[in-house]
Amino acid sequence: MGLMDTLHAVRAHGITKCFGDVVALDAVDLDVTQGQIHGLVGPNGAGKTTLLGLLLGLAVADGGRLEILGTPVERALAVPGGVAGFVDAPGLYPSLTARQNLAALAALRGLGSGTAAIDEMLGEVGLTDVADDKARGFSLGMRQRLGLAAALLTRPRLLVLDEPANGLDPAGKRHVHRVLTRLAADGTAVVLSSHRMDDLEALCSEVTILATGRVVFSGPLSKLAAENRELDYRLRTSDPETARRLADGTSGVRIVDDTGLGLRQDPDVLVVRALVAALDELVAQVVRSGVAVRELAPVVSPLEAAFLALTEHQEAGR
């Protein structure tokens, strides 16, 4: 087995999966290398959970070839050791405490994890204070974090997470991001799905966008942003009138009526639509005119904009 093969945690080519007449996945390709956090995005019913389920070994593809950690997966529940995670929601037992959930799972999988290892995992996800509380009373965010801790117990080389950011408060999100980033730095491949574009942008080096079971984009985030031609930007300056006049006169820049964007009306803010190059030109002109730029940000993140454009296009083409 060559170096290129072993660097891949997931190699999926032409994966097809049907449930009766419904085609859940249609010739899907997915490559995830070690140490990469790979985002899976798509509207509801796009096939994300089905794909994650295949990676966890819950089902086997009807067609195509799937290789996980260098091992071909040819039947259900036959993925290599080192794969962990959850789909839909973490599997927790409400009558057990957080610590007991992890201890029972460790014993089940024969991990021989001592109390120290379990405490370490609970600490990593920020649940030390509630370690001896029954999972019955946990919020969704706490359940997500406990599910992540359960997955970490197995010291995974491929971590598969379905909407891990659901229900997380800012502190919980910080814990989860820190854990995932550390795992990736240690060489673990992470595949996660999310509806939260900000999470994916913060975490993922690459994303795959699925729509109606097909891959409509796969690659680095930077490429995704570049492929999306024009974006709307919020521009806050010290002199809105001058900025408006300059935007009007800059080639490739259009002023957008922000009443239809669902944004809070702010007289100091100008919303413009432009490519990055034209926007750069506008900013330079504004600055040269002695006007201070106080804020410049896309109205919708590049990933979200691309996501909407690509998936709406796919939906429209059906």
């Binding site: 072993t6 660097l7 290398t33 529940l77 050791g81 037992y93 009558s95 690459e206």
Partner: protein, 454 residues
């Protein structure tokens, strides 16, 4: 594609993860079951409540004489576990099995943990075995609690005196202990069949609460069926009959054929229902969240084979025992009543400090008629009237007679109520080693061996 880390060492291809051994999955399931407050509560209740109940009843003036052996609860501590067994067969065991086995699969559906469990164990078959064994363990713990607690309660409150059997003969303490143990073991068979039905319901009905209700519903149906005037072959072919047939251990000679048939039928139901649950479970599509295993096909697959088993066992029992009627015939009633009367007459003689007699000397016989001879002289009913005759030893010219009204239920059990003369079978108190007790010939229990062909 590019990796985010600058240097990532290559790793060798990982081997397919082994499936988790059944022993570890079993321990996991046991931990989950025992962590539930309702299971803990049941265990506590089963190990404490029967003892308190039996001890409490032993101190009361009124006894549960409508339950088999209930009228002997003042006489010996061994009556307590048998009264509890009679109660358990009707109510406690169906409920216990439903709470444990009827929910063990459905709980994962409710919690949405199937996928998690499958990823961890990697084998639906092993999950099934582990869950079944864990349920069995808890059910055995609960049944053991009922038996041990009621025995200890009886022995502590009343004592270790001999037990009066169903045909009136006295069982020594050791003999009674052995038979009580055997009776509880025999009742395990139908309890296991209910547990298997619970497993089947839990698998086949998914999230529906009907899975939880299935064992009590089946047990209730079986109890109702046993009250109906069914042919004896049908009666014995139902798994609930073993909750009754342990009675045969307390006669001399023992009525073993109905007991063994009842146990065998129960075990056949256990095996078949468990096998059906297994087939349904391993065929379930866990990748589809909308599929909780329930559906018309699952129900059909679950019900039809059990119906076929019932038909098969009815045929087999009918052919091998040549029993097609009610099994309650005039000659058998007369024989059974005379036997009980003779044994209890001997007991009464001892209690009244009269010269000892033996059953052989008494030569007791009974002449019974149903509906004053106007109807067929067989079958259950409270319209049996019997005249018992016996010889008094040394008084060859005198034959004693006593009249009894018999209420015979469809399962062969009867209660004989003395109807004179009052010196023989009227209500009066006799002094016994455990205190005053009603005249043993006043009212007593007995049973007719439904398969006896004498």
């Amino acid at each position: 594609m590019t990796a985010t880390t600058a240097v990532t060492p290559p790793v060798p291809a990982a081997p397919v993860a082994p499936r988790v051994p059944v022993s570890r999955a079993y321990r996991f399931e046991l931990v989950k079951l025992v962590s539930q407050w309702r299971i803990r509560l049941l265990v506590l209740a089963c190990w404490i409540a029967p003892g308190l109940f039996v001890a409490g009843v032993g101190q009361q003036s009124t006894l549960p004489s409508d339950t088999l052996f209930g009228r002997w609860m003042h006489a010996t501590g061994w009556a307590g576990p048998l009264v509890m067994l009679g109660f358990a067969g009707t109510w406690a065991l169906p409920l216990l099995t439903s709470v444990v086995a009827g929910d063990v699969f459905a709980a994962e559906d409710r919690l949405g943990t199937w996928r998690h469990l499958l990823v961890a164990v990697r084998s639906p078959a092993r999950i099934f075995v582990a869950k079944s064994l864990a349920s069995l363990t808890v059910i055995l713990l609960l049944v053991a609690g009922l038996a041990v607690s009621s025995t200890l309660g009886g022995l502590a409150s009343v004592g270790d005196q001999p037990l009066v059997g169903l045909d009136g003969h006295l069982l020594s303490s050791g003999d009674a202990a052995g038979r009580v143990l055997l009776a509880w073991l025999a009742a395990l068979a139908p309890a296991l069949s209910l547990a298997a039905i619970g497993l089947l319901g839990s698998v086949a009905l998914g999230r529906s609460p009907m899975g939880l209700l299935l064992p009590p519903v089946v047990a209730l149906a079986m109890s109702v069926a046993q009250m109906l005037p069914l042919p004896v072959a049908v009666r014995l072919a139902l798994p609930g009959y073993a909750f009754i047939s342990w009675n045969g251990l307390f006669t001399s000679p023992e009525q073993l054929t109905p007991l063994l048939i009842g146990v065998a039928v129960s075990l056949a139901w256990t095996v078949l229902a468990t096998a059906l649950a297994y087939v349904l479970f391993v065929r379930r599509d866990f990748t589809n969240p909308a599929d909780d295993g329930s559906g018309r096909r699952a129900l059909t697959l679950g019900v039809l084979p059990l119906a076929a088993l019932t038909a098969l066992t009815v045929g087999a029992v009918a052919v091998t025992t040549t029993s097609t009627g009610s099994g309650i015939e005039q000659a058998k009633v007369q024989k059974s009543l005379a036997t009980v009367f003779a044994h209890l007459y001997r007991l009464q003689t001892g209690q009244l400090h009269r010269p000892a007699v033996t059953e052989a000397q008494l030569k007791a016989t009974a002449a019974c008629t149903k509906s004053d001879g106007q109807a067929a002289q067989e079958g259950a009913g409270n319209d049996w009237r019997c005249v018992v005759s016996w010889h008094l030893p040394g008084v060859t010219a005198v034959t004693g007679t006593a009249v009894y009204q018999l209420d015979i239920t469809s399962d062969g059990r009867f209660v004989a109520d003395g109807d004179g003369p009052k010196e023989v079978n009227g209500y009066f108190l006799v002094r016994t080693s455990t205190g005053d007790a009603p005249n043993p010939l006043w009212q007593f229990d007995g049973n007719v061996d439904l398969l006896d062909h004498h």
